[in-house]
């Protein structure tokens, strides 16, 4: 779902950054955040609500609301909408509040 033709903007659409999502290999482009790369691959559900386990996607996309929290490289509650995508990142859906991780 990447924009190919746009009257004002031009985008890099070559997906060269490989990362893993729930164990699957996916690719994003230079400049993506984790959330934008996932969305471009058709993945809208990023986490589940803590108590009722309802699906959650992003909402604000600028780091305000925590609706996009995921576990990234073992760290829970990462706001994926403002975290730049890096090669080799391990991204997983977050269940519950997330466990405190050890470095």
């Amino acid at each position: 779902m990447r924009i190919k033709n746009h009257p004002i903007l031009s985008f890099d659409t070559e997906e060269t950054i490989e990362f893993s999502y729930n164990g699957k290999k996916l690719r994003g482009v230079e400049g993506d955040t984790i959330a934008s790369a996932l969305h471009a691959s058709g993945i809208k559900k990023l986490s589940e609500s803590i108590h009722l386990k309802r699906p959650r996607g992003f909402y604000c996309a600028i780091g305000n609301c925590a609706s996009c929290n995921m576990v990234v490289d073992g760290v829970p509650n990462v706001r994926t909408c403002i975290t730049p995508l890096k090669p080799g990142m391990v991204v997983n859906n977050q269940v519950g509040k997330g466990k405190v991780y050890e470095e």
Partner: protein, 361 residues
């Protein structure tokens, strides 16, 4: 803990203009923003701006941003930019707690300029938490900053300028805007924007709102219904639309939480979008050496955010002991510009809000 002179929180039009004034006066400036790119809301604004020529009317937001950032270039030796850095705490002694990636650190500032902008509001309706329901500005970010479409078929909720402009930008990106619903009986943004999307075939439905979203793991359909004069849904008028995305554009709320944390006086003023700090005519909050400007002191526009930012920057520089060249004339010109920007019928709400806040601008 590192000591800094002027710390600006938020690198939108307000923060960048404040930085320019402080740097010109000779101060050392640290700009903090959680985003990677500087510019706040301007980063995603591909449309041409209204307003006054002095505030770059008819320029696109992204081009204004370039001008603002270039303006800081001559002062690079006194400017520090902490991007991808979130301010998570603020203390009375002007200690700013920050998180950058995995690092937590604190800095101590002599003066602080709050230019954190605003966050988009949500709307209560059944299933309003499903993936596929996004703030309109979020969709703008996704499309214009990252080049990704939010979906194929969109329902836009709200006819303010953001709703209208994002509808147009969705069409530009090749996304179908199935309908725009508005609870009020009239369009709340500029009519030119509304006519533009109407001409392009968007169904604009007045006195109509979303009743519920339908879908399991994401939005598959929505139900809309008509509203009566007191904004209650009218049973029997429901219609189901096939959309995979709902954009919510029902206003913004100032990001005042950090100011509340340090105990600055804050007041709820509906016309300004919610809780706003009490500021005096020098843009200083109730805490000495802490200033606020831009959307965080009242939801307005980038044009007024720039003027306010410049004024806050001048006062902060003055209070730090720097001589601002031509200070009183500069301030007078800025006051006039702000007055002009707030003179039209669309600014009536803002004018009422500031009257309530008793700011003498």
């Amino acid at each position: 803990m590192k000591n800094k002179e002027a710390v600006i929180i938020g690198a939108g039009p307000a923060g960048l203009k404040a930085a320019k004034q402080l740097l010109e006066a000779g101060a050392h400036v640290t700009i903090i923003d959680r985003n990677k790119k500087l510019g706040g809301q301007l980063v995603k604004q591909t449309h041409k701006f209204f307003g006054s020529e002095k505030q770059y009317a008819s320029f696109r937001g992204i081009d204004i941003l370039e001008i603002l950032v270039q303006g800081l270039k001559p002062f690079e030796d006194r400017l520090e930019i902490l991007n991808e850095t979130s301010v998570v705490g603020l203390y009375k002694d002007k200690v700013v707690a920050c998180v950058k990636h995995d690092n937590f650190f604190k800095i101590k500032a002599k003066s602080i300029i709050m230019a954190t902008g605003a966050s988009e509001k949500h709307l209560p309706f059944e299933n309003n938490d499903l993936p596929g329901i996004y703030a309109a500005g979020a969709v703008q970010t996704l499309m214009n900053e990252y080049g990704v479409k939010p979906g194929d078929k969109v329902l836009m909720v709200g006819s303010g300028n953001i709703g209208l402009i994002v509808s147009y930008q969705l069409l530009q990106a090749g996304v179908d805007v199935v309908a725009l619903v508005e609870a009020a009986p009239q369009i709340s943004g500029y009519l030119v924007h509304a006519s533009k999307i109407k001409r392009l075939g968007v169904d604009i439905l007045m006195q109509t709102s979303i009743k519920r979203a339908i879908g399991k793991d994401q939005v598959e359909q929505v139900e809309i219904w008509e509203l009566d004069e007191v904004w209650q849904g009218i049973p029997g008028t429901e219609r189901v639309l096939g959309v995979d995305t709902v954009c919510i554009s029902v206003g913004l709320a100032p990001l005042t939480e950090l100011l509340m944390q340090i105990g600055a006086d804050v007041e709820y003023i509906r016309e300004l979008g919610g809780n706003v700090p009490r500021i005096d005519f020098r843009y200083e909050t109730s805490i000495k050496g802490v200033y606020a400007c831009g959307d965080v002191v009242g939801i307005e526009e980038a044009s007024s955010a720039m003027v306010e930012g410049a004024m806050a920057g001048i006062h902060a520089a003055h209070d730090l002991g720097y001589t601002v060249e031509d200070e009183s004339r500069k301030l007078k010109v800025l006051q006039e510009e702000l007055k002009f920007l707030r003179s039209g019928p669309h600014a009536a709400k803002v004018r009422a809000g500031y009257t309530k806040l008793e700011v003498k601008t």
